[in-house]
């Protein structure tokens, strides 16, 4: 299993049927996730795909998409879930923890330093204004992520009408009525999941 020449992929994969590079140590895993976290401004997923699939080839494109789907459905930050799953696959729970630590340690120090610097100048009207402007930009970015992903609804088994009705009701419930998140997720999300279950059942019965 352990090659005497871990850094020479051409020779160490000669006996294996699928030449699939992988991290060789927890240290390598840690720095790989640190590197991609530090490159990820306003969203780590694009960098994660480029680093893990295109550059390091730890995952194929298909494996990445599959993992990403699970990471997205599970609660918790998507990229955090993804790093846990990948670390776990190579080194078990320890690997998951190390990948998570890589993802969070240095970025945490950076945001705390930024916050501390900000606290020293926070009473200045210019800084207040800059933060207000950046907050408005951040709000737009988050909304845009939602808008972008609406394209994915085309393939949804719920059908366009149900999708948009559920989305509209969710927006009204959260943004305008300010209902608690749990009731909206359980209520509207539950309806969506049950409806999807029914639709999938119909598709399975219907001949292709």
């Amino acid at each position: 299993m352990a090659s005497p020449f871990p850094d020479s992929p051409a020779t160490c994969d000669a006996t294996s049927p699928t030449p699939h590079p992988r991290p060789h140590s927890l240290t390598e895993l840690f720095w790989a996730f640190t590197a991609l976290a530090l490159q990820g401004f306003g969203g780590v997923v694009a960098i994660a795909q480029r680093e893990l699939v295109d550059k390091k080839r730890w995952l194929t494109q298909a494996e990445f998409v599959e993992d990403w789907a699970v990471a997205q459905v599970l609660p918790g930050p998507n990229v955090v879930n993804l790093s846990l799953m990948i670390g776990d696959r190579y080194f078990g729970v320890r690997g998951g923890m190390v990948a998570l630590a890589g993802m969070l340690s240095f970025p945490l120090v950076i945001v705390l330093v930024l916050a501390a610097l900000f606290a020293g100048v926070s009473d200045s009207a210019m800084v207040q204004g800059a933060l207000r402007g950046m907050g408005a930009v951040a709000a737009g970015m988050i909304a845009a992520t939602g808008l972008k992903l609406f394209a994915a609804l085309k393939q949804n088994v719920l059908g366009a009408l149900v999708c948009y009705a559920l989305a509209a009701m969710t927006f009204v419930a959260i943004a305008l009525l300010k209902l608690p998140l749990i009731s909206v997720l359980l209520g509207l999300g539950g309806i969506g999941a049950l409806w999807a279950y029914r639709q999938l059942g119909r598709l399975e019965k219907a001949p292709a």
Partner: protein, 201 residues
């Protein structure tokens, strides 16, 4: 954004931890989807941090590299600052702020991390199962609308009245630019900081 002093007892620190613990498993689509609930509890209900600190937490985490979930660490940081008298209070201030970071990150990550370990192996084996696919697909429209609602609430935090129309215009322009172009997000954050510092929004 001067530190607004609050007093937190042990029960309050525990309440901070359990607030994030309770949101962790609801954060389908990322911790950012639970922002409306955080705002309701931390700002409106307990007054542990101000609207300005709340929005600064999100803005700084967005501006910095790394997972956006770190905005939760900054919310804990600000709550701790308010409780400990700020960094000017020396070790008490620092300790209190770091305790806030620790409790909030522990709360938001522990349940979801445990669940991810348990479920990801199982889901990988059973990805063709009807119930798994139904759950994924049924949640999608709700999660997407949550992102839009989050954008709305963050903008409305500054004021929903007509006097704040430049802020709404800025948010709307950014939403369209990020949606339709590949413009680097740092340029947009920089531009937002600039127009804000000049007092245009």
């Amino acid at each position: 954004m001067s530190t607004s002093l609050i007093t937190l007892g042990t029960a309050d620190w525990l309440a901070l931890l359990t607030h994030f613990l309770s949101l962790s498993l609801l954060a389908v689509g990322g911790a950012i989807t639970t922002v409306p609930d955080m705002h309701r509890t931390l700002v409106n209900q307990h007054h542990w941090l101000s609207d300005g600190q709340f929005n600064a937490s999100i803005a700084i985490a967005q501006a910095a590299p790394g997972p956006n979930v770190l905005f939760v660490a900054l919310m804990g940081w600000h709550v701790g600052l308010n409780a400990g008298g700020g960094l000017g209070a020396g070790w008490v201030g620092w300790g209190s702020a770091l305790l806030g970071v620790l409790l909030s990150m522990l709360g938001i990550l522990l349940p979801s991390t445990t669940l991810t370990f348990a479920v990801s192996r199982w889901a990988h084996q059973n990805r063709e199962l009807r119930a798994v696919r139904a759950f994924k697909q049924g949640m999608v429209p709700v999660v997407l609308a949550l992102l839009l609602a989050t954008g709305w609430i963050l903008t409305a935090a500054h004021g929903a009245d007509l006097a704040h129309w430049p802020l709404w215009l800025l948010t709307a322009c950014v939403a369209v630019l990020v949606w339709r172009t590949k413009l680097h997000l740092l340029w947009l954050l920089g531009a937002g900081a600039l127009v804000g510092a000049l007092g245009w929004v």
